[in-house]
Assembly symmetry: C2
C-alpha cells in the first residue's frame, strides 16, 4: 500500500481532530462518543513536542500515534514513528519518549520490537498527576513573592 508521511497543515485539522476522538475510543476513555467520517485521505497522525532532561538534554516526546484500524499493518505507524525519530535527531534529541497503557499489548510489543526500553518495568518510573481541585489547592498555597 502506498502512503506518504508529511507534516500536518491547517487543512488537516478536521481529520486530525476526528482521529484524536478515535484514539480516545481505542484507549477506552469514556465521554468520547460520536464519530462520523467519509472520504478521508488522512488516515493517521503523530503529535510530538520537545522536553528537557537535566541529565541528557533535549528529548522528543511522542504524545499521540494513531493509524485508523482499516489501514493498520501497512507500515504507516512505523513510518510515523521513524519520522518523529528523524525529526528529533535533526533537533539534537538523544531520546524519543512516550507512554503506553499496560493493557495495550499490541502497541507495547510494537515498541519493544523496535528496541524501546520500558522504563516503568526496568527502572520503576511512575506517572504522577495533579489536576482539578488538587492543582488549585497547590497553586493557592504558593509562597508570595
Amino acid at each position: 500500500m502506498d502512503f506518504k508521511i508529511r507534516a500536518a497543515t491547517k487543512e488537516d485539522c478536521k481529520d486530525v481532530s476526528r482521529m484524536i476522538m478515535e484514539l480516545a475510543v481505542y484507549e477506552k476513555m469514556p465521554d468520547q462518543v460520536k464519530i462520523s467520517h467519509e472520504g478521508f485521505t488522512v488516515v493517521g497522525y503523530a503529535l510530538y513536542f520537545y522536553t528537557y532532561s537535566t541529565w541528557k538534554g533535549r528529548s522528543v516526546y511522542l504524545e499521540d500515534l494513531y493509524v485508523m484500524p482499516e489501514f493498520r499493518g501497512n507500515g504507516i505507524g512505523k513510518g510515523l514513528l521513524s519520522k518523529v525519530a528523524e525529526v528529533g535527531k535533526k533537533k539534537q534529541c538523544v531520546r524519543l519518549q512516550l507512554s503506553v497503557l499496560n493493557w495495550n499489548t499490541p502497541t507495547r510489543d510494537f515498541y519493544a520490537a523496535k528496541g524501546a526500553q520500558d522504563l516503568t518495568v526496568s527502572e520503576g518510573w511512575h506517572f504522577i498527576r495533579f489536576d482539578g481541585q488538587n492543582l488549585d489547592n497547590l497553586a493557592n498555597e504558593a509562597p508570595k513573592d
Copy 2:
C-alpha cells in the same frame, strides 16, 4: 526557617548544576560522581516545562524537584511544588505532571499527601524510551519526503 522561592537567574547556574548532580546521586544513577560546594545560599530547585495533551490542552511538567538533605522538612519542596502549580495555572494549564521512582516512597508519599494521582497504578501507564542505537535505527528508516 525563612526561605524564598524565586525564578532562577543566570547567576544561579552553578548552584543549580551542583544540585542536579546531587539529585542524580539521590536517584542512585551511577556515573554522577564528584561534588564539592561551600557557602551556598541556593538550597533547592524546580525545573519545569510545558507539554500538550490532545484531550486536555496545555500541561506543566515538573522534570526535577530537589531540596538539599540538610534543608528538608522546612516546607521548601512544598513551596517549590506550589509555585510551579501557580505558574502553570497562570498559563492555563489544567494538569501538573511528573515522574517518580517506585522505590522513592518518601517522595511518592509527599505527592500523594497533596492529592496527586499515581497514573501508573490507577490507569497502567508505562514509560517508553528509545535512545542510542535504537533511536538511530528508527531515524534512518524514516520514509523519504
